[in-house]
């Protein structure tokens, strides 16, 4: 019996194998969206817990990775929507990671913090697409599959996110 069928039958060893194989991908997608390693770890565990509980409904002929990614992204989006905390860059990360210098200028710490705050203030739907498309350079088709929307919807959200970000940044005196 293959791994997916053994998992669907409730074998814990099969679940562990799937967990170890897909945990990096699940964690990476969640982290891209929530930008907080501790939250990403918690949501990774929650994702696999939901997967384990739903094992009886899993069709072994379907792609386990795609199923896991959809659950993970939905959880991360739920976190973005319902969390009252602003998802900001941790100060330590700002200081530790200077990032690539721009041709014309290097951002000050204050400017980075202001940009991170402006980004965090975007609605969850726009922030998720902006994070994946603008920062991570993820292909539109992958974003669409992960979010369960069309490529056209991804482009539309990206356009709205860019427009909103430009408005927010211009209020801060930052004109990219």
């Amino acid at each position: 019996m293959d791994l997916a069928r053994r998992f669907a039958a409730g074998e814990i060893d099969a679940f562990e194998e799937l967990f170890r194989a897909h945990q990096p991908d699940v964690y990476r997608w969640i982290l891209r969206l929530v930008r907080d390693p501790a939250v990403a770890e918690d949501l990774t565990i929650e994702t696999f817990w939901r997967i384990y509980r739903a094992r009886a409904r899993f069709d072994p002929d379907r792609c386990f990775g795609a199923w896991a990614r959809r659950i993970a992204v939905n959880l991360a989006m739920g976190h973005l929507r319902h969390s009252h905390r602003e998802v900001e860059m941790p100060q330590a990360a700002i200081e530790a990671c200077p990032g690539p210098p721009l041709r014309d200028h290097v951002l000050s710490r204050e400017a980075r913090t202001a940009i991170a705050r402006a980004f965090a203030s975007l609605p969850a739907r726009l922030r998720a697409v902006a994070e994946l498309a603008l920062i991570e350079q993820t292909p539109y088709c992958e974003i669409a599959a992960a979010l369960g929307i069309t490529v056209q919807a991804v482009k539309s959200r990206e356009f709205r996110a860019v427009r909103r970000l430009r408005e927010l940044l211009s209020k801060l005196g930052i004109t990219p």
Partner: protein, 72 residues
């Protein structure tokens, strides 16, 4: 607005919001294992349904109770 126009904004965002790392700092399986072990056992719905049906039958036909007791 096209992708070319977005390039300065992309660079600005990439500098302000750099990647945080690609993998978890530790093995998450021990936490997962704990979560699995601490989960309550699933409610045995089939057993409950059978018990409820048996109880309903005894309430509906109380004259069957002595016969049921004799079978025990």
């Amino acid at each position: 607005m096209n992708e070319h126009d977005d390039q300065p904004l992309r660079r600005l965002l990439q500098e302000a919001l750099p990647p945080l790392g690609e993998t978890p700092a530790r093995d998450l399986w021990p936490r997962m294992r704990l979560r699995l072990e601490s989960a309550p056992a699933p409610w045995p719905w089939l057993d409950v349904a059978l018990a409820a049906a048996a109880l309903a039958a005894l309430i509906a036909f109380p004259q069957a109770i002595p016969w049921v007791l004799l079978q025990c």
